[in-house]
């Protein structure tokens, strides 16, 4: 059975498909729904990753994982990912994201930066696609976003070293905290 995020990505791509090689502008609603669906593919991918990492993959815990996922918020995830998407990790969270004794790098690992930037891109476009009819989108915007989300998910899945897994766990925990740590921690 395909993962939920895969089903969503397939739906986002299906919305952009032109029957029989037809040309011309796609209906606006299909472009906007594709953008929105691509965002939700990445959103649910990260929720699944967090639930599997923090709650565990043991099958009977599926209900617990699904309840746990409801603790995350769109804004909290964005706030977290904004702190690692740039050339330097936000100083307020860098100590939390690295193991004690490790040299603290300036930037997050490339796979994490890719996911963070894709999430910010998808969330801004999804908000405009869903709510702002003044913002115009081309099919090219939606196609690029779907490909970006797919690429970011693939890079995340391929990052499996011990250091990568550790960074993911810390990042997902920070996401649960909505990107904010106690100042006296």
């Amino acid at each position: 059975m395909a993962a939920f995020h895969d089903e969503l990505l397939a739906a986002a791509e299906q919305l952009l498909r032109r029957d029989g090689g037809r040309r011309g502008r796609l209906p606006d609603a299909r472009v906007r729904r594709s953008i929105s669906t691509a965002y939700y593919a990445l959103f649910h991918f990260l929720l699944d990753a967090a639930a599997q990492t923090i709650v565990g993959t043991y099958h009977p815990r599926q209900t617990r994982r699904r309840i746990f996922m409801r603790l995350f918020t769109h804004t909290g995830m964005l706030t977290t990912l904004n702190k690692i998407k740039g050339r330097r990790i936000d100083q307020g969270v860098s100590a939390f994201l690295h193991l004690q004794g490790d040299a603290v790098p300036f930037a997050a690992p490339p796979f994490a930066r890719d996911v963070a930037a894709a999430f910010a891109d998808a969330q801004t476009k999804r908000q405009d696609a869903d709510y702002d009819r003044m913002s115009e989108f081309l099919a090219a915007d939606a196609e690029a976003l779907v490909a970006r989300v797919r690429s970011a998910i693939t890079a995340w899945q391929a990052a499996r070293s011990a250091a990568d897994r550790d960074f993911k766990q810390a990042l997902l925990l920070l996401m649960l905290q909505k990107g904010t740590l106690r100042k006296d921690a």
Binding site: T75, T124, D128, S135, L138, D141, S151
Partner: protein, 86 residues
């Protein structure tokens, strides 16, 4: 950290001019945006010829470079979109 859009526009132009997209980009426009949760961002509109021919793997390095370059001066995310050049 927030810069004036008039300061960010030449930064985006410099990145685009140095990229493989330069021959297709005919105009660049930046506009401040805010989502329903009050999160501010910047719409970066690139008017290009033949936008249907754009593929993510071709434009990804330029998009990432614009995001990083703007991020050096402004915390708002630059959301890059395309328009058909007149």
């Amino acid at each position: 950290m927030k810069a004036d859009l008039s300061e960010l526009t030449p930064i985006v132009e410099r990145v685009v001019r140095a990229s493989p997209l330069s021959v297709r980009v005919k105009a660049i426009a930046l506009e401040a945006g805010e989502d329903l949760d009050g999160v501010e961002f910047i719409r970066v509109m690139l008017s290009v010829t033949d936008p249907d021919g754009l593929k993510w793997h071709q434009i990804a390095p330029t998009v990432r470079e614009i995001e990083d370059a703007v991020g050096d001066y402004d915390d708002r995310f630059p959301s890059i979109r395309f328009a058909e050049a007149a």
